[in-house]
């Protein structure tokens, strides 16, 4: 790709910021991240690709929805507090309305066993996405026995043991930091 393709220019007005995030939210069928990349990096060129990856990296590390955090971090970078609020509202406005509309429509037919079977099937397929995401994220870690201990330890504790995350998280964090500190991760 030529250099001028990656001439980046941040949004100039709050309105532009809002419509950009609105476009991301409106189109994000089947996952927000690919659309965030398309709108902010490819279409509007607000960000360079590497900058996008780094911002998302930080947001994945933070608690909370990754893309929601990204709207806060980027909005803040470009327009301060107002930017953070505007970007966040733009991102969530349409999906919030649509998800509730869908739920209200669904309520009308939820007693129908056929519809119920279809929707639970969709839920099971969505559960598969989580496993697939975990496998993708685990690839660079698979050779480290210490990483496998943390992965399967927390998996078993949460999914099989049904132990509270407020117990699993501190224990896993402590263990993981010790492993990382000793270069076992």
């Amino acid at each position: 790709m030529s250099e001028d393709l990656h001439q980046v220019q941040p949004p100039q007005t709050l309105r532009e910021l809002f419509t950009g995030f609105l476009a991301i939210g409106a189109r994000s069928f089947g996952g927000v991240m690919p659309w965030a990349h398309r709108v902010m990096v490819e279409e509007r060129r607000w960000l360079a690709p590497a900058d996008f990856t780094e911002t998302i990296g930080l947001c994945q590390f933070l608690p909370g929805p990754n893309i929601g955090n990204a709207s806060i971090v980027l909005g803040k970078r470009w327009f301060g507090l107002r930017g953070a609020i505007v970007a966040f509202l733009g991102l969530f406005a349409l999906p919030f309305v649509w998800v509730l509309t869908l739920a209200i429509l669904y309520k009308e037919v939820a007693e129908n066993n056929f519809v119920k079977a279809v929707v639970i099937g969709v839920g099971a397929a969505g559960a598969g996405f989580f496993i697939a995401t975990a496998i993708k994220l685990a690839k660079p870690l698979a050779r480290s026995p210490a990483a496998l201990v943390v992965i399967f330890g927390s998996l078993l504790a949460i999914a099989v043991g049904r132990i509270s995350l407020f117990i699993v998280l501190p224990v896993a964090l402590l263990l993981s930091v010790v492993f990382a500190y000793r270069k076992m991760l």
Binding site: A84, L102, K116, I120, G123, A124, G128, L137
Partner: protein, 173 residues
């Protein structure tokens, strides 16, 4: 009051949701279904499915949970509670994080986080595919098929996999 209870639950979830909603979906199910009994396990899966099928951040599942329990105010309170603390942290940390780029402890923390997030996300998938805690081979068949397809057919829009899950569900469940 139910709105306060919802707010407390999701503020707590917000703080520990390292890696996003997938990391805490198992815990949310545990609290909402097992502990509080606000809904049945299969209702939870259905809400989750609606959240997946609609466009937008998957964190919106919490507004569906709130809506189911306490209507529109519940939906708003749950979403704000789930996003607020995390957003405040993102606001505060984003500056710090850039400043400490290249420091050893940031690298240690980053490496330490990775396997935890993997374990939490995988647990979320297992919990969702096992509503009520009783394994059902049909749910697992659909989940495994969608997982394998997602890993092998990288160009495919995930919506097609959800649709396929719905078709399989119609035949199997």
């Amino acid at each position: 009051m139910i709105l306060v209870e919802l707010a407390v639950v999701f503020v707590l979830m917000s703080v520990v949701s390292v890696g996003g909603l997938p990391s805490v979906i198992g815990e949310i199910q545990r609290i909402v279904v097992d502990r509080q009994g606000w809904m049945a396990a299969d209702e939870f899966v259905q809400l989750y499915a609606i959240g997946q099928a609609a466009p937008g951040p998957n964190v919106l599942i919490v507004s569906l949970i709130g809506w189911k329990i306490a209507g529109l105010p519940g939906a708003l309170v749950s979403l704000v509670a789930m996003c607020g603390p995390a957003a405040a942290l993102a606001w505060w940390v984003s500056g710090l994080w850039d400043r400490f780029k290249g420091t050893p402890w940031r690298a240690v923390l980053q490496r330490a986080m990775a396997p935890m997030v993997v374990g939490f996300v995988a647990a979320g998938g297992v919990v969702l595919a096992t509503p009520g805690g009783v394994p059902d081979w049909r749910m697992w068949l659909i989940a495994t098929a969608s997982c394998v397809s997602m890993l092998t057919l990288k160009k495919l829009n995930p919506l097609w996999l959800l649709a396929a899950g719905g078709v399989l569900g119609a035949f199997l469940l």
